[in-house]
Symmetry: C2
Subunit: 490 residues, 2 copies
Amino acid sequence: MGKGITSRSEDYSQWYNDLVIKADLAENSAVRGCMVIKPYGYGIWERMQAILDKRFKETGHTNAYFPLFIPKSFFSKEAAHVEGFATECAVVTHYRLKNDGSGNIVVDEDAKLEEELIVRPTSETIIWNTYKGWVESYRDLPILVNQWANVVRWEMRTRLFLRTAEFLWQEGHTAHATREEAVEEAERMLEVYAEFAEKILAVPVIRGRKTENERFAGALDTYCIEALMQDGKALQAGTSHFLGQNFAKAFDVKFTSKEGKLEHVWATSWGVSTRLMGALIMAHSDDQGLVLPPKLAPIQVVIVPIYKTEEEKANIDQFVDALTAELKGMDISFKYDDRDTQRPGFKFAEWELKGVPLRIAVGSRDLQNGTVELARRDTQTKETVSQEGLAVNIENTLAIIQENIYQKALSFRDSHITEVSSYEEFKQVLENKGGFISCHWDGTLETEKRVKEETKATIRCIPLDAKQEEGLCVFTGKPSAQKVLFAKAY
Amino acid sequence: MGKGITSRSEDYSQWYNDLVIKADLAENSAVRGCMVIKPYGYGIWERMQAILDKRFKETGHTNAYFPLFIPKSFFSKEAAHVEGFATECAVVTHYRLKNDGSGNIVVDEDAKLEEELIVRPTSETIIWNTYKGWVESYRDLPILVNQWANVVRWEMRTRLFLRTAEFLWQEGHTAHATREEAVEEAERMLEVYAEFAEKILAVPVIRGRKTENERFAGALDTYCIEALMQDGKALQAGTSHFLGQNFAKAFDVKFTSKEGKLEHVWATSWGVSTRLMGALIMAHSDDQGLVLPPKLAPIQVVIVPIYKTEEEKANIDQFVDALTAELKGMDISFKYDDRDTQRPGFKFAEWELKGVPLRIAVGSRDLQNGTVELARRDTQTKETVSQEGLAVNIENTLAIIQENIYQKALSFRDSHITEVSSYEEFKQVLENKGGFISCHWDGTLETEKRVKEETKATIRCIPLDAKQEEGLCVFTGKPSAQKVLFAKAY
């Protein structure tokens, strides 16, 4: 099977695209910037959804659904918000097509909407307009609601999963009686994301705060998790915003406090998207194809029979039946690939490409010896193991793979955080090694912008665990209160 | 608690609206025709999704995701299809807003799309345009894909859940090598829907075929399930379409058969939507509020403590802790409503309104006697039962409630299928009793249209189990090969 995947060293960006296409994860559609998520890719996203959804519910949230469309006028209500989103919105102006008489379908100009509608790029405005009707007293708070939805941002340059005009995400929108409670919520959800990234995606992340310049449009504080890809570029994998009272003021959402005072409600919002698919792919995969952490793999184990005669096949079938019955009971997902249209070598390459964590090959000699061949995708190693206790062996090996993938990504990430103390050093590291650069910064937007212009690196975050240590900005030499992390980013 | 629900006999339509609002299921949004599905309503929809999704997967389907937008030109490719949908589409014409200089946000006329985009009203066109790239040989078939998505149909008159401009649904789109296989698939999915309606929603349905006039735009055959609401009107609860080769021809999707011949692919599509929420509400509920079948109720059991002192409360808490631990183990969902801001009577009314199937009240005297009060929502009856074996009693009672709700709806439905043999009788039954009317029809579109104009009744379906029995059309006296079912419908 010719995989046709460009190697990472040759062209990292092409390698990524090849992988997404060849592993059947997604493809471009006929609509500019919009993707089709194919069944194998969607299967991974569904696993992400199920696990995140469970965690949201465990932390007290329920799901709801708000309209796809937002009246244009809502966008003008929060000044910073409209600045952030206006240039990348899809606008619905008409609601009817008609036949123009010569068989062409055209927009019916007579059916113009009174007020144009925006296809939601994010839902703060429509949701806060709704919350206005839900809140009267402190007894109605908190509101802890999440929505799984599609959103549209008309990006000019798109890449499958990483940046698409339409993408899938979840957006949590919560309302609270006090500032403290809202901040606590924003921090709690950041930790839910961080733990999900590390324990499930096997992607280590840095928890941090955005600078004012990089904040969400309308937020007082944006928390983020930042991951590192194999090419040394950072990827923002999730954000959680403390919105203060901005949206409550814009949409006049007030409540009567326990003390009988009328006050504006405090807000958070937080989201992760199908962009996580991009992070997952770029963090672990290799030139042979995807490497999936077992906790997200739609198929955790593939079993390939090696046989020449029908009789041999029948014996193998019998063995596989018993094994898969055990796997089912242990909630381990598997595929028995007994297609007779393809050779074993073709199958090996295909499942390697698709990142299935464990492959079992079993032939007649194995049956005689009471063994199978067990191959790990992450280490590309294989060994002959006993059929006795095989299911438990598989379960343990999957856990080992999950941990190994994480440790590998962690050691790569940790070896790519470089402390620098001069701009020369900064540029050198950025050029030659990439990764996160930890350095002092004078806290001004001006410096941040200049560095971005000159090097394309941005401040990814001020790590939450950053020590308060005084120093001098590596760009201007001015005083700095703490170090921040710079990187080039997706 | 003043429920403020209009009674069914007073105004059925207002009763429905009151119920949807007061039970916190959904509300109208600021966008005309688009609803907000509130957490309690969305919780029911999530249960529907989970159960249906499992059945789709058990029947070999996988999920995928296709773009929200469809290029306008795609709509012209299947003639019947565009006729069916063109008048009710939302059209995206621009992709940017801007500030007009005086602080107003306006559509940026310079950022016009080259080709207008349609917000999907259904996805046959974009999906078949995609399948073109997926199919070469018979080995690539069948494609068994489903999508959970939002769709938009710009309806002029909308009602919460029953008819909204945006709604949520699933749409299955399958591709097959033969006509027989496609027909079989369409029939299989109809049966999945029918079983779901009867076993889970507890709504009996008639399985049938639509007449040519009522078919989906682009289908050769539309199968449907038809339910009966308490006001004697029918509601189409799901459809499954045999599309023949229409979309394959429109989008040029061919495959090489086993025999080496190049042939067009055969198609089906099938869907159910948030409209099912409307069917669920209208089939079972009463003047006191919702009546939910236990299999869909987000909360199956509510427990209300009756106490005066903190000490009494502590004793009840202890009892409830033990009970709910048991319920958890049995996968029975519950809520312990120990709010100290509301009285028991208020709580009883609230959970009655929200349709919780079973209510347990427990006070100090109950603890002394080893009893609780068990109240059924469906029959509005209560009895004092022993605490011994309570969890099992609850489990059994939930099963009894599920069955009782179904039987009640079934007997109502069965008593509302009336055979008539004259137009006079037809009109009388329609006027005085409603429900389904079974009668002979001459098979012409003309008669179908005339009856609709004169009586507002439409042919709901030709039941799949209809006997071939010759007779005379009750409207024209012409020969008829079989009886069909008429009704007024939602």
